[in-house]
Amino acid sequence: MRTLQRRLIDWIEHRTGLETAVKNFLFEEIPASSGWRQVFGSVALFLFLLQAFSGLLLAFNYAPTPGEAYNSVKYIVAELTGGRLIRGLHHWGASMMIVVVVLHMIQVFIYGAYKKPREATWMVGVTLLLLTLAYGLTGYLLPWDNRAYWGTVVATQIASKAPLVGPYLMRLLGSDDGSIGVVTFARFFALHVLLLPPVTTLLIAFHVYLVRKHGVAPAPGETRPSKKFFPEQVFKDTLAIFAAFAAVFVMAVTVKVPLERLADPTDTNYIPRPDWYFLFLFETLKFFEGSLEVFGSVILPGLALVALFLVPFMDRGIAKTLRQRTVAISLVALAAIGWTGLTVTAIVTTPKSTAPAGDFAAAAVQEWQQLSPGELAGIFYFRQEHCSSCHNLGGGVSKAGPDLANSPTRRPPSWLMEFFKNPPRLIPGTPMPPVRLNDIQLTALVAFLMKLTPESAPALENTPTEAGRGAMVFQENECGNCHLANGSGTKVGPTLNGISLRRSREWIEEQVRNPKAHLPETMMSPYNLDPRDMEHLIFYLLSLPEE
């Protein structure tokens, strides 16, 4: 057995030289002073591979177009076993990567390991840091939820303010007017998965080659004989890698990565925030107003970057021991204090959304929240009858039937009612099947269709399923016979708009089920709804905006 393995290795070695290559790599001489502080580079490399691996797995189930992207991410986390973990690894791995890359740089900086002849290693390293941030920036958009959309709007707006190159940068990012759509999305996706990974791989290879060429930087005045990379340093690197991996894994299992609502460009109340590692830049911007803004958004960070690149040329003295590098250590301490201050301020000053019973109370009123119960129930019937199998609502791949939001002919409601009951009678030969709904339900469907315009359709299409169903329950139980909701119904009972500010979820449920429990004198009769109908009815009621 032993000899068989030996012979196999010999065979491979003879043809490829792999064994020698691996041995040369592992038995590299490193200074005797090397130890725990040199582990960060290996950890960063491991995290890069982890990102590549988890990213590839995500890409197997990801549709890189807006809208579809959101649905596929939702599919990954909600329907695929292990999908939430894989997304968690990718998300938290990205944060960990930033932490480790920065620690790596701080270590090199305070020890002055960038000094001659290692200037190139340092500059390639700074480039790699920028690439890491570029992954964060481009990857942020890809889930296409509200957070992604608005965070990226801010980032591209900053890019557009760059002196001279701003407009060209915007064109490169696929956004001439500062808005974000399919082109920007495609550019970000291509950058994130097609351009950045091979460039990063090449630069990492170059970076490691340079480290090997010049050797690990020894401590000043090092006299002890050098040691081998394997096994002691490999052991330390492995342990550090394990610690980082375990932290990412635990985060991925325990902390849910947010997936907010589908990106909504009409949501005027959304408070966009970049990911935590960009918060300090975001906060810096607040110090500069008006025409000075470009100073905070582009010039200051730009100068800081140039300075970072040129560190090896500004500090050209001979290597000193750590104790004598007071300037470097003070600079790091200052930067750390500044960064922490800015980040904490950004977090503390983020306005909190204060939502009472209704999760909607603080949010902007959406288009669908202003529909009458009939119109909203129409959306439910529209979905129940799968009308979208044959009809678009304002654009999309062309389907068998006409686009209902963009139709050149607008039919009156009475015509539509007749048509739905028996399509061929009004349009002989039409492939449209009859809609099997009763008159009240058809009236609701028609009411919804009358609300459709090319402008309103996208927002109405995003109506939550619960709201549509809730409105349907509202209609079928004839709640409107006694209550006003969005101006429709009668005023026998209390108006239901703004109920989320007055009553809790539980109170409403009790009231529907057993009205006399709260109000012994009430005329309202009890409704015995099934739990799902009840849940959706309450969802709908809480979504009614305050008048």
Binding site: F53, F60, A63, S72, Y75, E79, L85, I86, T238, F242
Partner: protein
């Protein structure tokens, strides 16, 4: 255990652990079937009132198909036969031989597949040709003259 063996054991052990922690979830993620979406199994295919006894009709209807993160609605057909009053059966529209669409030949009172000339009786049994088994059937339910079709079941292999 000397220091070197300790290092080697730790290095190998940790890498095996990391490898497993990644490979097992990845395999589950790729191989485990997705949690089923709630799509009703019963689809209304049409009304049975106009059906004549022993005269098959081709019903065209739409059914929802779950395709990853999308639910697509697609056109489907079924051959529906009223074998007797109060008894309706429905066949999958594909020949059990190689999946061609067959049709009803009213002259010979049999289903005829145009690909390899398999013929089937009104009850779906193989009369002639290479078809390996009888026509596959839908689960059928009739509620107030509405025909509801469920899952398709493979018919027994012909012995």
């Amino acid at each position: 255990m000397n220091r070197r063996t300790f290092y080697l054991t730790c290095i190998h052990g940790i890498w095996v652990l990391i490898g497993l922690a990644l490979a097992v979830p990845a395999a589950i993620y790729l191989l485990w079937p997705p949690r089923p979406k709630k799509v009703s199994n019963w689809i209304e295919a049409g009304s049975v009132t106009q059906l004549q006894v022993k005269t098959p009709e081709e019903f065209v209807f739409r059914r929802n198909r779950v395709d990853g993160w999308k639910v697509t609605s697609e056109k489907t057909t079924a051959w529906v036969v009223k074998t007797a009053e109060n008894h309706v059966i429905a066949f999958s529209p594909q020949c059990p031989h190689l999946g061609c669409a067959y049709h009803w030949n009213s002259k010979n009172q049999e289903f005829l597949c145009p690909c390899h000339a398999s013929t089937f009786s009104l009850e779906g049994a193989v009369l002639t040709g290479p078809a390996p088994r009888a026509l596959d059937r839908f689960d059928v339910r009739v509620e107030a003259d509405r025909l509801l079709l469920g899952a398709i079941h493979k018919s027994e292999e012909a012995s």
